[in-house]
Structures are given as C-alpha cells and as structure tokens.
Symmetry: C2
Subunit: 186 residues, 2 copies
Amino acid sequence: MSQVFDVAVVVGSLRKESLNRKIANAFVQLAPASLKLEIVEIGDLPLYNEEHDSATPPASYTSFRERIRRADAVLFVTPEYNRSVPGVLKNAIDVGSRPYGKSAWNGKPCAVVSASPGAIGGFGANHHLRQSLVFLNMPVLQQPEAYLGGAGSFFDEAGQLSEKTQPFLQSIVDAFARWIEQNQPR
Amino acid sequence: MSQVFDVAVVVGSLRKESLNRKIANAFVQLAPASLKLEIVEIGDLPLYNEEHDSATPPASYTSFRERIRRADAVLFVTPEYNRSVPGVLKNAIDVGSRPYGKSAWNGKPCAVVSASPGAIGGFGANHHLRQSLVFLNMPVLQQPEAYLGGAGSFFDEAGQLSEKTQPFLQSIVDAFARWIEQNQPR
C-alpha cells in the first residue's frame, strides 16, 4: 500500500466566511488519495514573545508546534493584508519557528496559494511568505504559481466551487502531491 | 513658539529586555526639541479578524487606532523574524489599517529602523515593512537607512548607549525630524 502524506493546511484569515478558508476546503476535497489535508487553526496562538521560550509556553503553542512537526507537508492559503502576509499568519510562522534551533517547519515541503477578490491575487503576501520559507528551510512548490485573483466569483451561493476554477486548483494540488513525494526528508 | 510633533513609536518585539525597545528608548532621549516620542504598546491587540469590524471592536483596537490617529508621525523600530516583519508588528499594522477606508496610518510620515544582534541588521524586516507602507500611504524616510547590525554591543551593562553608536542614531532622529516637518498633511 502506498504512503498517504499528512498535510497541515494553514489559512491566513480568521474570518469564518473567509474566501481563503473556502479555497482551503476545496483543496481538502480535490486532494488525490496520496494526500490527507487538514486545516490547522492559528487563531488561538497568543502574539509571539520570546519570553515564552524560557518559561512554560502557552498550551496552544505546544499543540500547534506538535501538530506541524507531525505533518509531512504544509499548504499555506492566504489573503494579502497591506501588501504582505497577514499578521495572523506571520505570528503562527513565528510561533512554529521557535524556540531557536527547534523549528517545527524545518525541511517540510510546502506550497503557497494566495487569493483575493481583487486583481493582484495576493502576490505581495505570496512572495513575502516565500522569503520567510527560505530561512525556514521549507522546499516550496515553484509551479504552478497560485495568485488567485477575482476569488469572489469562485463559489456559487451554495458554496460550490465553479467549474471554471476547479481544474486550476486541481492542477495545483496534483503538482503539490508530486512535490511532497520528491521532497521527503531522507 | 514652534510646533512639537507627536511621534508614536511602535516596537516590533514584546520582550521586556528587547534590544529594539532599548534602541527605541534611546531615540526618545536623543530626539530634538521639535519631537516628542512615545512608545505605543501593541502586545495586547488580539489577532486581527475582519469580523471585529462589523461588530464592536475590542477596546484595545479602538484605543490603539485613536492613539495612532492622534500622532503626527510614526517611528517603527523592529527586529527581523524569519527574514520578515514580526507577526506581532504586522498584526498591529493590520489592526491600525482597518476598518477598510478608515486607516489610522494614512498620510503619516514615518521612519523604519531595524536592528538585530547579527550582521544583516534586520534588512528583510525593514524592506518588507516598506512594501506595506506604500499601500498605507505613509511617506517614509529614505536616508539614512537604518539596518542596525551587531546591536548586542550598543549598550553597556548599565544600559548606557555606546558613544560609538550614538552619533548614528542621532543622525537618524534628526533627519526624521526634518522629514516630519516637510511631510505634514496640507
């Protein structure tokens, strides 16, 4: 039996009706049998403070780090806030990266999908995040790039993904599955 | 009598003994008579969620936005986390920028100082922040650039700023004072 990879999905918006969360849920559905995607919540992580590292960390820090550490790969799905990564998502990245030398992200293959109702599709957030991924030593899927503009029209009123968008999202998650297989730690 | 400008200082680290906080405090001391610098705390701002905008916002959001709105200028002093802006600071920026169309940051002249114990001096954080400042419409001091590397040696054991570093910090805050005067909203 072939391996099923555990993929932690981190969504950069806390809003319940977030477009990015809907897109993340679409990926959960579209994922091939070799991947099991699960959204990992980041809304209860207190703002990172290095003082937490020398004392008992908040319980939410510990469980978040353990969940990421357990994952074989990470999928980031994020809006853009002020032409960059939402503070909410960057805080989760900072929390997962510490204490120094014990980053939970280290070596995990990942992909970045950004989405917005506007035309630019979160490009600013997408590439700022990629700069952090260099330091975090996370091999990141290069193609297809995913700057999902006009994302307000991706879902109908019943929440169903449009047939126009589905093939592109499918191509992303399929390419990501190959990327994960290629980039498992040896 | 000439005008005294109110400068909100936003520090990107929550640690009490933070190097960046020490540098911010040094700027408070070095500021010319035309500036009054005050550190504005960001550690109690809950992670931004757009749902807050449609209901009653957290009290800390309201007071932070009012404090920034009252300021004539903003000085950012920040470390780099994972080659970018700390989530803590980006969250404060996101909070201040909302609700949509009512950004507290709009039009305020600002300066960015980044500092780290290492060699790069927070360059990654400094320039990621500058990308957000474009969108936020905050005229930002260009020169002198301030990537303060080796910042662990700036203060002696008594917390006194070294004589070697003081002139450069002075040149930054003096240039910033001129920048603020030039860039007041008309």
